[in-house]
């Protein structure tokens, strides 16, 4: 039997079918590949945004606890800080800006249990918000992260002096955290964690735990003077020598030890004076006071706190 006619490689119908199949399959395949790529890029953008926000918060943290002039919590809470932080990010601001990331910094009002202005301690919540345009999207994404900062540690850390050679500081008590200071007539110094002697202030009580074994100990008092006189009559910062009474109760011997000590030439800058209180064991209660309250009031005495150091 003989076949008739020629064999066609493709008929038009088959060609159309192939075109339709390709027309359906190719966009779907390309679309899937594009989606996978977009998701990967978005994941990477999320990581970068997270890293950028972390870098901003690290810088905020460092600046908030920086005692240098122009920095500290006051600088961080300043509205201009958002611009000031850019050169402090070590080139990261430019790097991320070129990649389409923008940032904002928000600072809350005082928060927390100690938001009471009378306490002198301030807590703020700083938020770093990073915005960017995700790959293949028309709406901007936003990532926020925050950190709580306060001026209390900054003040404490920046004003207390180092211990005497061979001694190690075991405890530092901020004056603001001392016992019933308000009732004792002291008042908080604005923008500081220190306390200033008031009309009735005669003594402050600090409760601190000395090392368990008897060891040579020293008590450090960090003070400054805002000048002699009162109000408009007050002269320049600083005061002549002032006499203090330091009493330490040693629970090991169950005895009080009281001694008069003198800090010579208190200046307008914070200074820490160390007093040898001998061997102290167990829990010690330390009282720092003075006999002539009026004299101290006139000198604008300001107390940052007390430290206890033992022999290393």
């Amino acid at each position: 039997m003989r076949r008739s006619g020629r064999t066609k490689a493709f008929t038009l119908v088959e060609a159309i079918a192939i075109v339709i199949v390709l027309g359906l399959a190719v966009p779907a395949t390309v679309g899937m590949l594009y989606d996978a790529t977009r998701q990967r890029v978005q994941t990477r953008q999320n990581l970068e945004a997270d890293r950028f926000a972390s870098a901003i918060l690290e810088t905020v943290l460092a600046d908030a606890y920086n005692p240098d002039a122009g920095l500290g919590l006051d600088a961080v809470t300043d509205p201009a800080y958002e611009r000031l932080i850019a050169p402090r990010l070590g080139g990261l601001a430019e790097f991320y800006k070129q990649r389409g990331f923008a940032y904002r910094i928000g600072v809350s009002g005082p928060v927390g249990l100690d938001a009471d202005p009378a306490s002198g301690t301030e807590y703020r919540y700083v938020t770093a918000t990073v915005e960017w345009m995700p790959a293949g999207s028309t709406t901007r994404s936003r990532l926020s992260a925050g950190v709580l900062v306060t001026d209390l540690p900054r003040q404490a850390g920046s004003v207390f002096g180092p211990p005497p050679p061979g001694y190690q500081v075991y405890q530092t008590i901020d004056a603001n955290a001392s016992w019933k200071w308000k009732r004792l007539g002291w008042k908080a110094v604005k923008d500081s964690t220190a306390l200033q002697s008031g009309r009735r202030s005669r003594w402050l009580l600090f409760i601190m735990k000395f090392p368990g074994t008897a060891t040579p100990s020293q008590v450090g008092l960090t003070v400054m003077s805002r000048g002699i006189g009162r109000g408009k009559k007050r002269g320049g910062a600083g005061a002549p020598s002032l006499d203090f009474v330091v009493s330490v109760y040693d629970s090991g011997t169950r005895r009080w030890r009281t001694q008069n000590v003198r800090i010579a030439a208190i200046s307008g800058e914070w200074q820490t004076a160390w007093f040898d209180v001998g061997n102290v064991s167990g829990t010690g209660y330390t009282i720092v006071g003075w006999r002539n309250a009026r004299k101290f009031r006139r000198t604008g005495l300001t107390v940052a706190g007390i430290q206890m150091a033992g022999r290393q």
């Binding site: 870098a55 050169p87 404490a156 430290q307």
Partner: protein, 158 residues
């Protein structure tokens, strides 16, 4: 038949080009993702080491050597680039690779005020309060800034 073959060839070549380009882009994105993940893991570890570095008895972070390509801490920890790998050496341990296929690794240092310090200078380790880490792996660049907690003044408050 010729017309049919022309049509199919045209459509096929376009489709092949589309799929080829997409596959290339996909491959590139996978490569970049791998590089980004690798760099991110290395950065996270470096940031953790620098952030938690020990405190110098005289105050501040305990850095023994601060170079552009490496940092050595007082406790013996070393982070450095060796060839195309970033290595971490902990005291008593063998060097372990943090990231491979690294084409650039750079450490820059800043003081408390945010001013840049010159890597390798004798005074740089003592003055360093912020460290910026830059790493490029598989063509992906990642940067991070870290503040050693030992350098923050609040620690001195006890």
């Amino acid at each position: 038949m010729i017309a049919v073959m022309v049509i199919i060839a045209t459509v096929g070549s376009i489709a092949a080009a589309l799929i080829g380009q997409s596959a290339l882009a996909y491959q590139r994105s996978i490569s970049q993702e791998r590089g980004a993940n690798s760099a991110a893991l290395a950065l996270d570890r470096i940031v953790a080491e620098v952030r938690d570095m020990p405190e110098d008895p005289g105050g501040g972070p305990a850095i023994r050597r601060a170079d552009a390509g490496s940092i050595q801490l007082d406790d013996g920890t070393v982070i450095e680039v060796v060839g195309t790998s970033v290595m971490l050496t902990k005291p008593g341990d063998q060097p372990a690779p943090l990231c491979q296929n690294v084409s650039a690794f750079e450490l820059s240092y800043m003081d408390a005020a945010g001013a840049p310090l010159r890597p390798g200078d004798p005074g740089t380790p003592g003055a360093t309060r912020r460290v910026v880490v830059r790493i490029v792996s598989n063509g992906v660049e990642a940067r991070a800034l870290v503040v050693p907690r030992a350098g923050l003044d609040w620690r001195a408050g006890g």
